[in-house]
Subunit: 168 residues, 2 copies
């Protein structure tokens, strides 16, 4: 296999571990499994194509967990699967836009709440005191959140395009 392995100093290794663990905790705060966050952190540090075997070894978790969480991160658009010619193993690397996915999920949750508010506005009579005012305020908030986040997604895409040009 044509994947280079990197050696680190003990200090770097400790810093990397700390970062990986912090990503695990962040992931949990966002409702993902901790291991998914650790894998994500690992790829931020290590980058390039890595195999399941390396992951399982480095993070000290079962191959089953790696498999499950790799699928999750793949579906979220955070990791990309790579196959190397002449090698049957799966490799993964960090996606080009790993953070888009987070915003997409966020905006989707906001949209659900927006729709719930709108449905309640339709279904509840307007003579109940204050109900429509409060639902309307809920609707305005979520509409703003959706709009803002979508604008941010577009902006980040643009930025990324620029950087891609710079790198080449």
């Amino acid at each position: 296999m044509n994947v280079q392995t990197i050696t680190m100093t003990a200090e770097s290794r400790a810093a990397a571990d700390e970062f990986i663990e912090s990503m695990g905790l962040s992931a949990e705060a966002d409702g993902m499994p901790r291991i998914a966050g650790r894998m994500w952190g690992y790829f931020v540090i290590e980058g390039g194509p890595r195999s399941f075997a390396e992951l399982a070894e480095r993070l000290q978790v079962s191959r089953g967990s790696i498999s499950t969480n790799a699928r999750l991160l793949r579906e979220l658009g955070i990791l990309e699967q790579i196959s190397l010619p002449g090698d049957r193993q799966d490799y993964y690397r960090l996606a080009d836009q790993p953070y888009d996915a987070l915003l997409q999920g966020y905006v989707e949750r906001m949209r659900i709440r927006l729709r719930n508010a709108e449905r309640a506005l339709r279904d509840l009579p307007s003579d109940l005191p204050g109900v429509h005012q409060r639902l309307h305020s809920m609707q305005r908030f979520h509409q703003s959140a959706v709009d803002t986040t979508e604008a941010l997604i577009a902006e980040l895409r643009e930025q990324a395009d620029h950087h891609q040009q710079d790198d080449q």
Copy 2:
């Protein structure tokens, strides 16, 4: 007590229940207890000051749960506690800016990740191939998210002020 109770038609009651449940599910998706979301939904519908007793009765949950989740929603700035003269019960109502709180929590989580990226940038040597590029990209993303969200918070505050003027 000087709190008026509202009667609804069966259809309205069903719509209200549906809304309350959808808020429970949304809350769960955001990592809060379902009951907290239901309480929140209840106050969007009912608005004005309500006692624990009414809440526990309407939502069919224990007084313990109401107490715990009322504290949570209070700390998040979603509910406000009210005391009425000549009444020892606690009353709650929806806060003026219940959605600010969500954005504050969101921005705080983003800030934590931003700091984690920055610390890793400091602690990891720049000669590891690509690490700094990836950490820098992580930093840029979270900085944008923080900035955008804070701008949104400010904008919503302004909107709210306008509406307050309208209402008076």
